[in-house]
């Protein structure tokens, strides 16, 4: 059991509830056509939040599409997350004061960036640990391998957090790799891997803290495998009934990490119904506010997607942009593609 104050434990609970509320609400928003495709985190909150919670402000995280819990833990405004899922890239601009990297969709490709950033920080003698998230299927990619190998060779302060949620869309863990654990993959790169119960937030925190400690002492990278389960569908476009039984889902529902923490807190007299209700209600209010904020954002200007191709606009981009604006103006006689 890692050392945590009562306030910290309550904060963990609050973050988990906030994440769950975000998740369930986002699902509904998609169903109502108010945001686009969404990938739920339900069931994995302990892995997500435990790992991010123990970082310092100057540490970095590299989340994927599924790590809403990590984002929330690190202080990302909820409306920015919603803005992204609503199909507005401006939501991907991380506020300057947060050390969160912008998520990327291609699975397994971001750990290399995390390793590179850790390398740069080390070169600059900054006191920084970098934590990069991925699902278990990401470990099948070539880029995962190269990232692990670089982290090992250059002894970098990186923590590879694998949320092994048992599935890659429909493909079960057993078909993803023959290695008995994901954790043992670290042996191939000459450093430690540890497997923890990813639904036990204290186990997650302990393993992450150890990894951070190790990195801070210049002892290089670690891999932390959090064994968990995705309770929801892969995304709003998926139907998990095609590839798994409801019994299996039910079984894992009983290990719901939020309920587990709640029971623990109840035993320790840290949780009362009142506290629970209040936490939940505040989370819902935060979410409602975020939805209002997101939905009252002005539309991006029509040519906004030309703004960030290069730092300095090239002639060709300039002409294409002008063409678009003219076209949207419906002065049809004049347009001619540049």
């Amino acid at each position: 059991m890692p050392k945590l104050s009562d306030e910290e434990i309550k904060e963990l609970y609050r973050l988990m509830v906030q994440t769950r509320v975000f998740d369930e609400k986002a699902w509904k928003l998609q169903r109502q056509g108010r945001i686009g495709t969404y990938a739920p985190i339900k069931g994995q909150e302990a892995s997500d939040i435990g790992t991010s919670f123990v970082l310092s402000k100057n540490d970095w995280i590299f989340p994927t599409y599924r790590n809403m819990g990590a984002y929330i833990t690190r202080g990302m405004p909820l409306e920015k997350l919603l803005q992204y899922w609503s199909g507005d890239e401006r939501g991907q601009k991380i506020p300057e004061n947060l050390n969160i990297f912008t998520l990327a969709i291609p699975v397994g490709t971001q750990p290399l960036h995390a390793v590179g950033l850790a390398w740069a920080a080390k070169k600059q003698k900054k006191d920084v640990v970098v934590l990069t998230y991925m699902g278990e299927a990401a470990t099948s990619t070539g880029d995962f391998h190269e990232a692990m190998n670089f982290a090992g060779v250059f002894n970098l302060p990186v923590i590879f957090v694998v949320e092994n949620n048992q599935y890659a869309i429909s493909v079960p863990r057993s078909k993803q790799t023959k290695s008995e654990t994901i954790a043992q993959k670290a042996i191939a790169y000459g450093f430690n891997g540890i497997q923890v119960d990813g639904n036990d937030i204290f186990a997650v925190i302990k393993a992450t803290k150890d990894a951070i400690e190790k990195s801070k002492q210049n002892n290089g990278p670690s891999l932390v495998e959090c064994v968990t389960y995705r309770l929801g569908h892969h995304t709003t476009a998926d139907d998990y009934n095609i590839y798994r039984t409801e019994e299996e889902v039910q079984l894992w529902s009983q290990k719901d990490p939020i309920e587990r923490l709640r029971r623990f807190m109840e035993n320790k007299k840290l949780w009362t119904k009142e506290f629970g209700d209040k936490t939940f209600k505040e989370a819902e209010e935060n979410m409602e506010k975020a939805i209002v904020a997101m939905e009252s954002l002005s539309k991006p200007k029509p040519d906004e997607f030309f703004d960030y191709v290069f730092a300095n606009q090239t002639n060709s981009i300039k002409m294409q942009r002008e063409y678009l604006l003219k076209y949207l103006d419906e002065k049809e006689k004049e347009i001619r593609f540049p």
Binding site: S140, A168, V171, P302, I317
Partner: protein
């Protein structure tokens, strides 16, 4: 004959070729139990079993690379890459190996491989889920590149691709999957690779396109007709090798040409078509060959998506302007 959408016609093509030829097999992420994230491979696992319908680890390079080995040994792997935006990690296997094994081994080894992959812009897509990078493959010697634009073409072209002795990249425009149905023969039939289809004859101008943009071009053509512009419309079907003869014959007749694609402008297929016309039909040209294409930017997410994709109005407007050149 049945009314089918493109998902159904591709599914039927796969099933029929697998039925006909024991060596054909399907592999990729989620193609088995799940039947593909777009349900294109639905039912195949049940019909042909795990040995021939294979769920793989998440490894695009691994899928393509091992398929190369299988193709060398006499099998006919039909690979699914879940989105063409995820094909890049398999790029080396395609560009340095699949396309070259026949040449490198002077014919001792060959690579009859099909890579099916959804492409093109789709409404509300995530990043990397709506890419049009066919030009990268067209530029690569030793690869064939095919892109159907309706359920009928999809079936016939896919069957030809499976039977082709060389590697074929088979792009499936995502937004056509369920966009419309069409009469599709239930029997096996093929559509030759390397031949464009003159969808509609005309005299005033040649409109060339392929894939999902064909629908917009055909719609534009209807409007242009109302403006007394009688276009000839060419659906390329195969992007590499390109059917230059059909293109040139048409442009020599009409003297004008518009190429439409949603891939970025610079060094896209439109450039190649324009260059060919310039080289071989300059004296027939009565106006510049113009390209109506996507911009040289990343495809924006939902909020601005409509500003990226060439739409019917753009095609109509530009064509009308060109007619006045």
């Amino acid at each position: 004959m049945s009314q089918m959408n493109m998902v159904q016609s591709i599914n039927q093509a796969l099933a029929q070729e697998m039925e006909r030829d024991q060596n054909v097999l399907v592999l990729g992420e989620d193609v088995g139990v799940d039947g593909g994230v777009f349900r294109v491979t639905e039912g195949l696992l049940q019909k042909f079993g795990e040995e021939r319908v294979i769920d793989t680890p998440l490894s695009e390079s691994g899928i393509v690379g091992t398929s190369i080995g299988m193709a060398v040994y006499g099998l006919k792997p039909v690979v699914e890459i879940q989105f063409s935006g995820f094909i890049y990690s398999a790029f080396e296997q395609l560009i340095s190996h699949a396309s070259r094994i026949r040449n490198r081994s002077r014919g001792r080894f060959t690579c009859p491989l099909v890579v099916r992959t959804p492409c093109s812009w789709v409404s509300r897509g995530l990043e990397h889920h709506e890419e049009s990078t066919e030009a990268l493959f067209i530029h690569t010697p030793g690869l064939k590149v095919v892109m159907p634009s309706n359920p009928y073409d999809a079936k016939g072209l896919l069957i030809s691709s499976i039977r082709d002795p060389d590697p074929v990249i088979f792009f499936e425009p995502l937004r056509l999957y369920r966009a419309f149905k069409q009469e599709v023969p239930d029997e096996i039939y093929t559509i030759p690779i390397g031949e464009a289809n003159v969808v509609k004859e005309g005299t005033d101008i040649t409109l060339i396109s392929y894939g999902a943009m064909m629908s917009s071009v055909l719609e534009a053509d209807e409007i242009l007709k109302g403006n007394n512009i009688n276009s000839e419309v060419i659906n390329l079907r195969t992007l590499s090798p390109l059917d230059k003869d059909t293109i040139l014959k048409s442009v020599k007749k009409t003297g004008k040409c518009v190429v439409v694609h949603e891939a970025p402008l610079t060094c896209g297929l439109g450039a190649e078509i324009s260059a060919i016309i310039n080289e071989k039909a300059l004296l027939n040209l009565e106006a510049p060959v113009i390209r109506i294409t996507g911009f040289d930017t990343v495809v924006p997410l939902a909020k601005l998506e409509n500003n990226y994709i060439p739409d019917v109005r753009r095609i109509v407007t530009e064509t009308k302007n060109l007619m006045k050149f």
